[in-house]
Every structure is written in structure tokens, then in C-alpha cells.
Symmetry: C2
Subunit: 657 residues, 2 copies
């Protein structure tokens, strides 16, 4: 099962393996896609992805979240999207709460959370939308906004009427069917539409059969798939499924799975959804109702058993999980079912945005490797995204840093934690070197805290950076403050667990890369040393004023990560680009001040140390072009230190010679 | 000297090696070229190339040719362009003969020969143009046509007046200066303009000084460089050069070198140009005037000595050779001077067209590898040429095969030679297998003739194909009639003499490729075998009716040759493209009939054998995607033969299953 999951996204190449197509002369006229489709999942619509999965018998799961109440809750939820996204959900969905201004630009609105999931986390997302007590204009405005933000899927719901006395309005939105019709009428085929099914019948429906007829109407009005309300017994769903099929509902019907996570949340949910908990469940949980761990374990076991029955029926292509914004129970159920992608294949070395406008994007500058959301944010207004070659995109304009404080660019850690990691008080530049070194080594600092992040790296070291740990530690100790690096790779299989990406059967390559801040004295020596490494090493050296020293040929980008795959053109997803480096340096230098210096009082020695570094250090990047050989970049740094240790020679040349 | 020449085209990366540019903030706004400039020479204007060569002290040579009288003369001259082009001339020039309809579309016209040199041979070319007795409209029409054909350089000459009584016309073209002015007036800066200098003064000039003043006028009118009339003593040129500089002529002045090649041609030339042969030369050649070889040897020695003096003066950046459309003497002089590029660096694996519209082109389908002129011809009407990725070019339309008989697509060999090579009479399909096998092995056939070409390969085997000789021989003997192949290459230096291309310091790669005709029985077995090689081997199999069998993923192209270079994006110059394969197959099948079957009488057995193959065989291409491993394609063919030898199994599956 895990192996099967590890192939997510490459089914189309598998299903092609019959290998025989009889296209005759007309194949000349084929309207071939203009860019290599690395992954059909990336460009397909949700309905098509489902279709392909159903055909291949490859089970999927999806995850439901609700919008958070606070900004810090939003930051946490987005981190959760990243973590749970790595398990390979086919989609996630975000609920809609009419009382909470769900269509607004607030960072906690349903609209913005769904937008973030699509654009920044690269997740196929379904936005809920309720129509009850809404005008057509308002609904259309929400849908237009969703479309503009890159959302392609809507879960069309009636929603709960406000107040007790709900009367049908003529021509208004009385049922979800009306909303489905409205979406199809106003937006034609643009949105994939999901509707809700009630295995026990909607509590307000006249009868189970009447509710089934309503569901049929919703599907006939243009819905593409159904997600059901939660239920407690597999047979409840399987009967419902059969009844749906019997009255001619043919679209995918996904069971809503609710792993019981606690006594009180269960009671609350049951009350809200007007469901009855079966006796056999009550009998188990009542005696342990004060033991949270025991209830959660039971919930997991109960969900796993039920899901196994559902999947074994052969009638259930995917499972939909009500997560209640929690991770543990759902992940555990998925792991036990073998549906969690333990080693998700990366289509590219960086996470792809799910915005339809970006679907051809397959080249990015390496500089934002640790800040992909910032890159997406700063390029959100681009009309075209580079594909095939970075160079095909002519001098794109990066967004300014004015909206810099946008919540999803903020550090996940609160100020207190940052001070503990980076020092309540800095003594000198060496204190800063120590912070960098501790980050690299994952050792606790002198106050007993681990340095888990840096302004340029919100997460611990990437596994491939770990490969360089010893060398990085050595140079950071001496003031070569590394913020980005990658080892050289000379043709590892695309399935390599650390450096692999892309379709199976390919080979990936990298040029060795190192990016760091360092003092102008070091740069003077470095430039002297670099003469010996022409043309093997390309460099870009810049300070905050933009003084730029480079040996880049005609300002051309240098491809530093590429892959060769069966039956495809070459993919080169990462470049060192001289032009965008000048945009990145603004951001890289600003992070010293915005994320670090501002932790301290104005005029405090600590703040002045960071300010000094910001004002005087250079940002340097080095590429070793000779990827089949051992990287020479460590030797370059070593040579620089040797030269610095023989002071009479370093005086010969100025840093801006 | 040879080493220096071997670096042609990469000076800009060398001259960059100071490596330091202080561009500051403004570098963000750099108007970077939208495609990787592999070779600045490729996009520069002739005047810029000269400037760069002069700055780097890198001597060049150029070659003058005149248009041929007959179509077969044209085919020979174009082959000579290819051979002499490989020595690395900075440019060639084509003379203009007003009496010979030089601006027409005839295959022998100056215009068409120059166009062929630019477009099909990839040579920087200068078209001569004379203005004497011409109307402005006629001249402008010639220039417009030249521009349309991709010509960028004009040698502006007065030309000889027709008849004896030449009178100046008011407002007409009386001097080359008028033509230079006209070109600059009508075409602004579009053309690079060359004018003629006369080291002894023009024979019709009133005085040497008067002629120098005329030359100054031509340069002041807008000429970019000067080529001189031939001369016999280095001091003649050096004095002329000094006199030019003294009156303020600063542009490059190239000495015209005429290696004496025979007694009669010398006399004729001297008569035409009204020059005097110096006594010391007369004294040597008069006694040996009947010994052609001796005169030629003397001519070579005399030219070499003179050129050495010129180059040693430090005032001569390049040498211009009057070839008289012959190869031996000029090549020998250049070899002795160390100017002939013995191992010319290939910027790409295939010859680049010099047409300005094609300057970004850096991807082509592999199918035309042995027929690059045909590819250029069939794509001449494209508005855009693929660069970076083939896939970026959306379903380009290939030109039809109607103009198929255009002279430069014809075989260089006459019918009699083809019959000797391919057989006066074919007995059966095996006779055809034998022709292919003899071509591969370079052995003489049963009539004692070597098979030097095939309809799909006008030249002997490429050196890299030679690497596969034994395998190719084995399979051709059994009716796998190979027409194109390349070995796999896993990262050889770009300087490799056989498979290298592109800038120094890079690495080149290839996927193993094999293309062949074979019978439908073989294809049936092959398809059975290929199932075992999924997804390692990609295949396209097509017959003349266009029945197409492939396992290509979404009709995507497969990059089969690529290179990784310092400081650049990845270059992937050769692809196997499913769409263009359907255009190639029309041509590949047509060659059986047009070049081979038509050698024989209608209804003759030989003709019917070729017709049978044309009608019934399939064209197959195979790519082994696993380039780091030994190619499996030979094993695929071997497996096919094994299966064919066990007949009961082959019956299971039809060829179009």
C-alpha cells in the first residue's frame, strides 16, 4: 500500500504502459501541451484526479479543516497544512462560517486560509460555501474572489438558517441545489463542485428517501462528487452508497470519517449534527470518559476498523477525514491504513504552488529555498512563470518588501523563544557566529536552548544540508555565516530519499552551492583566492548598498539542480540567477533587522551589533560548476582563511578592486 | 597558435575573467538576453566579431568565392563551404557578376549561393554588390532581397562599366561611395559594409594619393572595414596600411592574399587587375611554368612567407584569401600559418545556421542529424525557433516535400556512382541489407565499390557512429536497416574530440538512440520484446501510411543530448520528438523512392524491391533512457532475433495490436 502511494502523480505514465496508440497521420496535428507535464496531477482538475485514481484502484484521502480564530492560530494551521500535506492528501477543504466574515481578507477568514493552502502550501483545496440567507450578488462576489485567488473547487452547502423561523424565499437560495445551479449558471464549468450526503438522512428531511432524492437533485444540478456526514458504522455508509447508486447517483461518494478524539468533542459534534452514537460505542467510552488517551486510542482503532471495512468493500475510492484541526489521530489512522505517504515523491525539489496560473512553473532561483512562501508572495503578480528556462522570463519584477509582515512570512516562534535561541544579549560579532554554529550543530546554546531556526531558515536543517554539517560548522565558527547550501550530486536516482525528486527512473544532479554573510575583510581575501578557481567557481558578492562583484557570464543564470527522466525534456528547477539575487539580497539583509535586531531595545549593544553586521557584511554565493568532482567550495573558504592568517598578502587588493 | 584558434567563439568568457563588475543597484534592471548566449560570435555582428578578435589579438582569416556556372558546380561549391567552413573562417564572401543575373533565384546566382552559405552552411557571409550602370530601385531591390534571406553584410563595389565609354551619371551610382551612402541611407545600420582598397592604387585612379582619398570617402560614407586587392609583397600592403592610417582611416584593413596556384590563372588575374608581377616572382615561375605542382608549391611558400611578415607586423588582424573556388592551396597556407582550426569547437552538436532569425535556435529533432540542410529548408518559414525546450514551440508546421528536388537536398553523387554503390541490379531484400552493411563497414561491395553514402546519409559514418560499428554491422546484416544512431554518453568533457561540443569546462551527455527500417514481421516481434523494457526504452514505430505505435508520454519530446556548462543554464540541443517524427517519416520513406527506386527502370525488379520495402517496412526509433548504464538497445534487437527464431511465439500478437 505504501509503495502504491509512493507513486502518487505518476499513474498516467503507468496507465500508458500498454504503449500502443494508433493515431495515424492525425498525430502530426496533435495539440501537444507546450510544457513537459512532469505530473499530470499538477494540471488536472480535481474531478480528473479522482477519475484517474478510481481507474487505477489507488485509494486516496482528504482532510477537512476549519478556519482559526486568531492570527497565531492561522500561522499554526498553515504549518499543519505543510506537515499534513506531506502525507499526500488528494485535497483539503476549509469550512465556511457565515458569522465569521468568511469571505474577507482577514488572515483568519475561510477565503484567505483556503487561498494560502492553494498558493503557499500547494494543496488542492475545496472552499466550503453556504447560501442560506445570502443574496445572489454576495454569492457571486465570493465565487469571483475565490476564482481570482486560484481556488477551483467549491463545496456547495445550504448552511444553517439564522434564527428559528426559516421560510423559503422565492428565487432565493433555499437549498444547496440552488447554489449548485447558480455556480454552474454563472461560472459554467470553472469550479469542481462537491455536495454533502447524509448517510442517515438530513435531520430536517421528511424522510431518508426524500433526502436521497434531494441529493440526486444536487448531483443532477451539476455537482461532481459527494462527501458524507460522519457516521459510526461501515454498514451505514455502504447501505447509503447502495441506495444512492440505486436511484442513479453515479459520481464518487466519499465517506466522512471522524476518529473519536475525546469524550466532550464527540458529545458536542453529535449534538450539532443530531446524530446518535451507537450503543456499542457508548458502552466502550462511557467507562473511560475521563481518560483522554484511552478514548483517543479507542477512536483510532474504531476508525481504522471501519475504514478497513469500507476500503475492502471495493466501493470506496477515498476517505474524507474530519480532522477538527488536529493532526495526531487522523495521521495515525492513515498510517495504520497505509494511506499516509511516508516518503512522498517530490515532483520538483521545491513545493509547487497549486494556483492554476502557476501550473507551468518549473524553475525558481535557489535563494528562496528556505523561504518558498516569501518567493510565492513576491512573485504573485507575475503574468508568466518561468518554465524550462529561467532565462525565458525577461527581468521579472519582484514584489516589494512593504507588505513584509504578512502573517505567513512571519516566524512561527514567538519573540521570547527567538531571544532564548538567538541570545538575550549579544556581546560581539562572535556571539552571532555562535548562534549560526549552534543552529548547524543542533546543540544547545550556553543558556540551554536549541537554536531551531534562523531569520533565513524557519525550520531545522534540511536532510541534504545535514550531509554538509561538519564543514558548515567549521566555517560558521569563523564568521562565514551560511544561510543556504547544497551538496553536489552526480546522477543519483530520482527515487533517492534525500536528494531525489521527479518521476521514477530518472537521475538528479546538483552543482555544489554555498551562500553566506561574511565581513568585508573576509571578502577581500576571498576575491584574491577566487582568481585561482576561474572559471570553475561562479560567485556573486553584494553588500546592502548593492555593490555587486560577480564573474557571471553576461548576467546569465546558472542551473544548479536538474533532472533527466525517461521520455522527457530536461528539467532544471533551480538556478542561481544574478538578476533575482539583487532582489533576494534586499530581503536577506532586511531579515537581519526585521527579525533579529528588532528583538532588542533601540540603541542597545545587541541591536547595534546586528545593525553593524547588516551595514558592513557582504552576502556571498558560490557555485562549483565541476559537479562530477568533489566540491571545491570548502577549499575556497579554507584558502581564504589561510590567506587571512598571512596578513601581509591580504593588503594587496581592495574589496572592490 | 592552434590552441588559440581552438577557442574560437569563447573569448567573451575569457575576457570576462577579470571577473569584477561594479554594477550596483542598477543590475536589477539589466536587460538580460532572454536566452543563454552559448557563443557571443553567434549573435554578434561581423564588425563586433572583428572588434573582439582585434582586442584579444586573435588572428582570423576569411575566404572569397565566386558563384559557380552550373547546378552541379553549385552542389560542389556548397560541399566546399562545409569543408572549408570547418577550418573556422571569420566570414566568406561571394562575388557579384552583373552579367550572370546575380540577384536571381537561380541556384547558381550570387544571391542564392550567399543565402545557402548563411542559412544552410552556417557561415557568416558577405555578398558583393556592384552599382555601376544600375538604377537605385534595382539596387534597393537586391538589398531588400538580401536582407530577407538573412544576409547581413555587403561588399560595396563600383564594378566594371559595361562597354568602353563610361560617363558619370548625375545622381547615379558612379563610385562605390555612392553605393555605401545609398545602403546607409536606405537601410540605416542594418548591413555591415565592406569596401575595396587598392594597395597600388586603383588602376583608373588619377594617382595613388587620389585613390587613398576615395577610400577615405568610402569609409566616411559608412563602410565598416576594408579588404584589399591582391598584392605580391608584404611591404606593399604595410605601406598602404600606414598611408591609410595617416589620412585618418581607422577601420580594419584586411590584406587580400592570393596564393599563386598556376601559371595561367596568375597571368589571367594579373591582366584583369592590371597588376604587375614583381621581377623576383617572375624569375622563379617562368622556368617552371609547365610544372603545375612546382608552381603551386612555390605559391604556397610565397604566400606563407608574406603572411608571416604581415602578421608579425602587429598591424594585421586577419587575412583575406582569394580562393578561386579551390581548396588545397589556401588550406595549406592556413595550416602552415596555424590559422586553420584543426579541431574546431562545435558550439552545438549540429551546425548552426547563420540566419539572424535563427540565432536563438538551440534545439532540433534528432531525425535530421544527417540531413541538416533539409531540416533548415523545411523549417525556413518558421517565425520562432525552439530554444531551451523543444516543447516551447507549439506544433510547428514543417514545409512540404514538394520542393524536394531543390539542389542542396540532392545527393552529391551522380546517378552512375549511386548505382555502383547501391547495386545496378537488386536480387531481393537481402541485396538491400548488403548495401546498408557495406556502408557501415566501409568495405567494397561485390562489384568492388565502396558504399560512401545512403539516401539518408550523404556522408560516410560520423566518428561517434563509428563507435557502434560492430553492433550496427551485425543488425544490418539481418535486416535492421539503421539510418541514425548515437551511443550513450555519461558526462564526457565538452572538449572531447568525438562527442564534445559547447564552451570549455562543461560536460556532455547522451541517451543511446537507434533508428532503422525493418519489416513488419520484425516489428511484431520487437513490440513483444519491448514490453520487457518498459519504461526504460521509449519507442516510435511508424509505417508509410502513418500507422503509429509509441509509448511516448503525452506526446512529449525526449531530450537525448544535453550539456552542463559553467555559469549557464542547461542546453539540450537534440530531442526525439513524437510530432516531428511524423514529418520526418514522410521524408525518410520518400527517400527510398526518390533517391533509390528511381535509379531503376519502371517495373524493373530492382525498383519493385525498393518499392516493396517502402510500402511494407516500418521506421522505428528507440531511446534507452538509462544513460548511465550500458545501452540495452542492442539487447533489445538481439531479443527480437531470438524471438523470431522461435516462431510459435511470434504468432501470438499482430503488428498493430
Amino acid at each position: 500500500m505504501v509503495n502504491q502511494r509512493a507513486d502518487i502523480g505518476w499513474q498516467s505514465s503507468k496507465s500508458d504502459s500498454s504503449g500502443v496508440s494508433n493515431s495515424g497521420e492525425s498525430s502530426k496535428e496533435s495539440s501537444r501541451c507546450s510544457t513537459p507535464v512532469l505530473d499530470a496531477d499538477r494540471t488536472d482538475r480535481l474531478r480528473d484526479k479522482m477519475k484517474r485514481r478510481i481507474e487505477s484502484g489507488d485509494h486516496w484521502f482528504s482532510l477537512e479543516f476549519f478556519p482559526p480564530r486568531t492570527a497565531s492560530g492561522a500561522v499554526n494551521l498553515i504549518s499543519r497544512f505543510d506537515r499534513m500535506g506531506s502525507g499526500g492528501p488528494l485535497f483539503i477543504d476549509i469550512t465556511w462560517h457565515p458569522a465569521g466574515d468568511p469571505g474577507s481578507d482577514k488572515e483568519t477568514s475561510s477565503m484567505m486560509i483556503a487561498s494560502t493552502a492553494v498558493n503557499y502550501c500547494g494543496l488542492e483545496s475545496v472552499l466550503h460555501l453556504t447560501c442560506c440567507n445570502q443574496t445572489k450578488e454576495k454569492i457571486t462576489a465570493h465565487l469571483n474572489k475565490a476564482k481570482r485567488l486560484g481556488l477551483k473547487n467549491i463545496m456547495a452547502l445550504r448552511g444553517d438558517p439564522i434564527g428559528e423561523d426559516w421560510v423559503e424565499e422565492d428565487g432565493g437560495f433555499n437549498y444547496a441545489t440552488d447554489l449548485v445551479k447558480h455556480i454552474r449558471c454563472e461560472f459554467d464549468d470553472y469550479f469542481d463542485i462537491c455536495v454533502a450526503g447524509y448517510p442517515k438522512g438530513h435531520p430536517e428531511a421528511e424522510s431518508y428517501e426524500d433526502d436521497l432524492r434531494h441529493l440526486k437533485e444536487k448531483v443532477d444540478a451539476g455537482a461532481h462528487f459527494i462527501v458524507t456526514q460522519l457516521f459510526f458504522r461501515a454498514e451505514t455508509f455502504l447501505k447509503f452508497l447502495k441506495d444512492c447508486r440505486d436511484i442513479g447517483i453515479t459520481c464518487p461518494i466519499l465517506p466522512g470519517i471522524f476518529p473519536i478524539q475525546g469524550y466532550h468533542s464527540l458529545r458536542q459534534l453529535v449534538k450539532l449534527s443530531k446524530l446518535e452514537v451507537p450503543e456499542e460505542i457508548k458502552q466502550v467510552i462511557e467507562p473511560i470518559k475521563d481518560n483522554d488517551a484511552a478514548i483517543r486510542n479507542y477512536g483510532i482503532q474504531q476508525a481504522v476498523e471501519m475504514c478497513k471495512v469500507l476500503l475492502a468493500s471495493g466501493e470506496v475510492p477515498g476517505l474524507h477525514f474530519y480532522t477538527l484541526n488536529r493532526e495526531v489521530a487522523t495521521m495515525e489512522v492513515l498510517r495504520q491504513l497505509g494511506l499516509w505517504a511516508e516518503d512522498p515523491r517530490r515532483p520538483l525539489p521545491w513545493a509547487i504552488s497549486a494556483h492554476p496560473k502557476r501550473k507551468v512553473e518549473d524553475v525558481r532561483p535557489i535563494f528562496w529555498a528556505s523561504r518558498p512562501k516569501s518567493y510565492i508572495y513576491r512573485t504573485q503578480d507575475w503574468d508568466d512563470f518561468p518554465n524550462g528556462r529561467w532565462g525565458n522570463s525577461s527581468s521579472p519584477a519582484f514584489g516589494e518588501l512593504t507588505d513584509y509582515y504578512l502573517f505567513y512570512l512571519k516566524s512561527k516562534s514567538p519573540k521570547e523563544a527567538l531571544l532564548q535561541m538567538w541570545g538575550e544579549e549579544l556581546m560581539n560579532e562572535e556571539s552571532v557566529y555562535e548562534v549560526f554554529t549552534n543552529y548547524i550543530t543542533s546543540q544547545t546554546n550556553r543558556n540551554g536552548h536549541k537554536v531551531m531556526c534562523l531569520p533565513w531558515n524557519d525550520d531545522p536543517l534540511a536532510p541534504e544540508t545535514n550531509l554538509l554539517k561538519d564543514e558548515l560548522e567549521r566555517v560558521n565558527r569563523r564568521g562565514v555565516l551560511t544561510i543556504n547550501s547544497q551538496p553536489n550530486i552526480n546522477g543519483k536516482p530520482s527515487s533517492d530519499p534525500i536528494v531525489g525528486w521527479g518521476p521514477p527512473g530518472g537521475y538528479v544532479f546538483q552543482k555544489s552551492y554555498l551562500e553566506f554573510f561574511t565581513s568585508s575583510e573576509n571578502v577581500t581575501a576571498l576575491l584574491q583566492v577566487l582568481k585561482k578557481y576561474e572559471p570553475r567557481v561562479n560567485y556573486h558578492i553584494v553588500n546592502v548598498q548593492g555593490r555587486n562583484i560577480t564573474n557571471a557570464h553576461d548576467m546569465q543564470p546558472n542551473a544548479v539542480t536538474w533532472g533527466i527522466f525517461p521520455g522527457r525534456e530536461i528539467i532544471q528547477p533551480t538556478v542561481v540567477d544574478p538578476v533575482s539575487f539583487m532582489y533576494w539580497k534586499d530581503e536577506a539583509f532586511a531579515l537581519w533587522i526585521e527579525q533579529w535586531a528588532k528583538l532588542y531595545e533601540d540603541e542597545s549593544p545587541s541591536r547595534m551589533i546586528i545593525q553593524y553586521i547588516h551595514d558592513n557584511y557582504f552576502l556571498v554565493n558560490l557555485v562549483d560548476n565541476d559537479f562530477p568532482l568533489d566540491s571545491c567550495l570548502w577549499q575556497v573558504i579554507e584558502d581564504m582563511f589561510v590567506l587571512l592568517d598571512s596578513p601581509q598578502e591580504t593588503q594587496e587588493e581592495g574589496s572592490d578592486s
